[in-house]
């Protein structure tokens, strides 16, 4: 119901300066510059690594492994985002807090076992009970949130539940803070509990070595994802979920209980977050009420990276994000200290100009972007740019958020594409 009473004449005076497509041009510049920086960093890193000035070998391997482990946590949490988004079409901001609550309750369970000596004498029983406690908490909380905060908002404009979920997130975070205090709660150690040597040490696969805990985390995360995938694709409930994601009204007409399906979706997402909580505890051990917030945002980023609504995409996006932010600063940002040699700069400049000119001549715009990147590289070579960044690790979150932004510019539907049947009503 638009309320514009008079149609603006096409040539109203305000349109001066907007004759060219401002957004396209801007995005073109952003794309070209980002791609140029990434390529420069990569080439620079390779050049520096070959002369032994940058990270290589074991250190790089450890970095990638850590990134994958961290990323598989993101991926597990991202599954919850993805599923809820697929079914209800909004970002459940509070999902990070669902994960955090599982981790906190898991801690109190583990701590109780530790103080009674069960943890060391009967480790496997304890860890299973801790896992169950974490999963039960996360699942229950996810379902409760849906019941109280989201169900009344069915059919509201999409941003209303999103804003609600921000409120829920803050409420849970600060409720846990108020109940349990701000101190970091450290899970009891995994040493001296009779675990096999490889878990607390390293596993060697010839050239490849990985910490046992990280290996477990990655394997469990992938297994959980596979189980979930089977569940969604093979079972009746899974089919119902997909039907509801496709079209709620028609699904209801087909005899699917929409409310129950949505609750199941929240519960499954919550249980995945519970599994992630325990893996988190194994990897990092320390949790408090703010543990969930940043991983929650990162996990959503991961879900978008992989293509929201796409389960495999969520996991791949998570691992990609973990690797980006773990490895990116050390390689790409580190590589920026490398100066583009003058000869290469001149070559690039020539190539770039040639590409743009021939593109114009042939009337194709496909050569513009590579051309612009090459020209930028040329300018960098001629002006001998270099950028040594201290405290690389400080800006890893910049890398993560920028990665999200770039993915949305280059591929708005994510790496693997969205599997959504929601009409696009922003």
């Amino acid at each position: 119901m638009a309320t514009v009473t008079e149609r603006a004449p096409a040539s109203n005076g305000l349109r001066v300066g907007w004759t060219f497509d401002w957004v396209e041009s801007f995005l073109f510049v952003v794309k070209a510059f980002s791609a140029f920086v990434i390529l420069w960093g990569l080439i620079g890193y390779i050049a520096l690594a070959s002369s032994g000035e940058a990270l290589t070998g074991e250190a790089l391997r450890d970095l990638i492994v850590a990134g994958v482990a961290q990323g598989s946590m993101y991926g597990l949490i991202a599954l919850g985002y993805s599923m809820v988004y697929g079914v209800l079409g909004f970002i459940n901001f509070a999902h990070g807090e669902v994960f955090m609550s599982g981790a906190i309750v898991g801690y109190f369970t583990a701590d109780a076992f530790f103080r009674t000596g069960m943890w060391t004498n009967n480790f496997y029983v304890s860890i299973v009970v801790v896992l169950l406690a974490a999963v039960a908490t996360s699942t229950a909380l996810a379902v409760l949130i849906e019941r109280i905060a989201y169900r009344p908002l069915r059919g509201a404009p999409r941003l209303i539940p999103l804003i609600t979920s921000i409120g829920v997130s803050f409420f849970i975070q600060n409720a846990v803070l108020g109940l349990t205090g701000p101190t970091v709660k450290t899970y009891p150690p995994l040493t001296e509990v009779g675990l096999p040597e490889w878990v607390t040490g390293r596993v060697n696969f010839g050239i490849f070595a990985i910490d046992g805990t990280k290996l477990i985390a990655v394997v469990v995360a992938l297994l959980s994802m596979l189980v979930l995938y089977q569940f969604v694709t093979r079972t009746k409930t899974g089919r119902a979920m997909r039907a509801v994601a496709e079209d709620k009204e028609i699904a209801a007409l087909m005899g699917i209980n929409v409310d129950r399906t949505i609750v199941t979706t929240f519960a499954v997402g919550g249980s995945m977050a519970g599994v992630a909580a325990l893996l988190w505890a194994i990897l990092f051990r320390g949790v408090n009420s703010f543990t969930g917030f940043l991983p929650g945002i990162k996990a959503f980023t991961a879900a978008v990276l992989g293509g929201i609504g796409n389960l495999v995409g969520a996991m791949i996006g998570g691992i990609a994000l973990g690797v980006f932010e773990g490895v990116g600063p050390q390689t790409i940002l580190f590589g920026l200290r490398w100066e583009v040699p003058l000869w290469l700069g001149l070559v690039l400049l020539a190539t770039g100009v040639l590409a743009v000119v021939s593109g114009r001549a042939r009337g194709t715009s496909r050569l513009y972007l590579p051309g612009a990147i090459a020209i930028l590289g040329g300018v960098a070579g001629v002006l001998s740019w270099s950028q040594t960044i201290p405290g690389l690790f400080q800006i890893k979150d910049v890398v993560a958020f920028y990665a999200l932004f770039l993915v949305l510019i280059f591929r708005p539907s994510g790496l693997l594409g969205e599997r959504l049947a929601l009409e696009d009503r922003a």
Partner: protein, 609 residues
């Protein structure tokens, strides 16, 4: 509203049950509400509210805020238990006795929970998990009289409170308004002690107790006055509200002008009467109001959910800092913020320029994004800005972790006034000038062609685009206007505090400004003003204390609860913009229309048969 410490969320969407036979208590509902109430009070005690608020006396010597935080629950649940969702036109079928009983029972169940909590805390030390459950809590819960008598006091008191709540639900609409008006005004006057004292010393001696809190006669006077006014004018309020929802013009324009003039004069005269503390408080309110008005343009008018709004605030603050501070690491133009000399206007100009650039940089890439993607990307931008200001990489320019300090005070040489954080009164006047500008700009924009374009875009972008609205321009303008207002806020913040550190620009600031806009009323200027006054004034900003210092610990919890509650109950806010509330309730209107039309169809079918 008065007791916004509402951690529980009413289970909304309770479908109206078919009318039961009279004088029957709905046991299920009673038990459920009692249970929810019990859990709520246990939660309130366990997060430490009872103990933390106990020092704040509301009515000396009988009521502290701590007991109020617990006591309103049985009253409220009793009220809810006996209140029936009366279907229009049907007769309320419950008898008075059963109403009182239902209320009392609910209250009693609530109290049982509390007593059990006291017993449990007394028996086991649970501080390993729940840090706030100390012996002091038992002391408070049992009124220091041992567990046995506590059971009697608690349950007796709660039965009474619940019954009162049940009774309240039986009153006529007017009487209920009078009662709630009286209660909430007593609460408001009690917590605003510091403000009222500033106005005139007479109140201090006549209304308040020497150790804080209202005296009993004082409370009675306030309650009587407020109750009478609320009772007398209940109808007018209801009518206005009804008119609001029907979308007619609410207040004739000449009244509006008179009201506006009165408010402006009040605002101008007020700081002169107020002391340092209240002026400081109001300066903070003004700062958030300025940001709220800016975000209102972005979210309220244009419907773009920007969660990284703090980035513009940071840009304004850092621009000012770099331009004025003598110890700014790289650039030291060392301008003074003096609006009667070139320096001040240069600073203002550069701040505006920086904001425009930031607005375009943030706004352009997200123009084609869906609403929720836009939210998360802007959130990312906000974080990116903060991290860059904090980073060692840019510390040669922005000071990194050490921030930029020694930002000089603003000066008005002609009037011989130095405006510094040391003198909140002058800061408050400066804030007010900018707020006035922001209000004027917002108001002009909303009434202009671009405002109509935003409204169209908000409702349906593709239709708006098809109607020939340049959505790119509209969105960019919204971002830029919002960015400029926020950067003014940043500029004032910098000269007020005299230093900027990156930690002042957390995501939390964006969220709180969003809550101010939403609670006040999206897209409505008076709404945003009320939202800022109520929230920032009473609870405080992310790092600014409000009237109640005790809230510091629970501020964010309450903000979260308020946000959820508003979204579920009144998504249009306290003072809704007519348009927005219609948009938000469109579903319901459609629903009603559909019901009516089917009924009509049925009737015609009947008739023709």
């Amino acid at each position: 509203m008065a007791t916004s410490t509402k951690p529980s969320i009413e289970s909304a969407g309770e479908a109206a049950r078919p009318n039961r036979p009279a004088s029957r208590i709905d046991w299920r509902k009673t038990a459920k509400l009692g249970f929810i109430g019990g859990l709520t009070t246990v939660f309130i005690v366990a997060i430490g509210m009872l103990e933390a608020f106990d020092r704040r006396i509301l009515i000396a010597p009988i009521l502290s805020l701590g007991y109020l935080a617990v006591g309103w629950v049985p009253f409220g649940s009793g009220y809810m238990a006996s209140k029936q969702d009366v279907v229009e036109g049907a007769i309320d079928s419950q008898s008075a006795i059963s109403k009182l009983l239902a209320g009392a029972l609910t209250g009693g169940i609530t109290a049982l929970f509390l007593w059990l909590l006291a017993v449990a805390v007394d028996a086991w030390d649970m501080r390993g998990i729940f840090v706030k459950l100390s012996p002091g809590v038992v002391e408070l819960l049992t009124f220091g009289r041992g567990l046995g008598s506590a059971l009697a006091i608690l349950v007796g008191g709660s039965l009474l409170l619940g019954a009162l709540g049940g009774g309240a639900s039986m009153l006529s609409e007017r009487a209920r308004r009078g009662l709630f008006g009286a209660l909430s005004w007593v609460f408001v006057v009690a917590i605003l002690q510091v403000v009222v004292n500033d106005l005139n010393g007479w109140f201090r001696t006549h209304l308040y107790d020497i150790n804080g809190g209202l005296t009993v006669p004082g409370a009675m006077v306030v309650a009587g006055g407020a109750g009478f006014v609320a009772y007398r004018f209940a109808g007018a309020v209801g009518r206005t509200r009804a008119r609001l929802h029907s979308g007619e013009a609410t207040v004739p324009s000449r009244y509006r002008i008179v009201l506006g003039v009165v408010l402006v004069v009040l605002a101008l005269a007020l700081p002169a009467f107020l002391g340092t503390i209240v002026n400081e408080l109001l300066a903070n309110v003004g700062l958030f109001l300025l940001m709220g008005l800016g975000l209102n343009i972005v979210v309220g008018y244009a419907g773009l959910l920007d969660l990284g709004y703090v980035a513009f605030f940071a840009v304004g603050a850092y621009t000012t800092a770099v331009l004025t501070s003598p110890i700014s690491p790289r650039f030291k133009p060392m301008l003074t913020v003096d609006f009667l000399a070139a320096g001040g206007w240069i600073v203002l100009g550069v701040v505006v320029l920086a904001a425009i650039v930031a607005g375009i940089l943030v706004g352009t890439p997200v123009i084609r994004m869906r609403g929720d993607y836009l939210a998360i990307v802007t959130l990312g931008f906000g974080e990116i800005v903060r991290i860059l200001f904090l980073s060692d990489w840019l510390s040669p320019t922005f000071g990194g972790a050490q921030g930029v300090r020694q930002i000089p005070a603003a000066k008005l040489d002609v009037l011989d006034v130095t405006i510094t954080g040391i003198n909140p009164k002058s800061i408050f006047y400066i804030v007010m000038v900018f707020v006035a500008i922001a209000i004027y700009v917002s108001w002009r924009l909303s009434k202009s062609r671009i405002g109509r374009a935003w409204a169209a875009m908000r409702e349906d972008e593709s239709v708006a685009a098809a109607m020939g609205i340049d959505t790119v321009r509209a969105k960019l303008l919204a971002f830029v206007a919002g960015a400029i207002l926020a950067s003014f806020g940043g500029m004032i913040f910098a000269i007020k505090v005299g230093s900027v550190f990156p930690n002042s620009f957390e995501l939390l600031v964006s969220i709180i400004v969003l809550v101010v806009v939403i609670v006040g009323g999206m897209g409505n200027i008076p709404g945003v003003i009320v939202g800022a006054l109520v929230l920032i004034g009473v609870l405080g900003g992310p790092t600014q204390p409000g009237v109640l210092a005790e809230f510091a610990e629970f501020k964010l919890l309450i903000y979260g609860a308020i946000l959820v509650y508003m979204m579920l109950q009144r998504p249009e806010g306290l003072l809704p913009s007519v348009r927005r509330s219609r948009e938000l309730h469109q579903e319901e209107f459609l629903q009603d229309a559909w019901i009516v039309s089917t009924q009509v169809a049925d009737e015609t079918a009947e008739a023709t048969r």
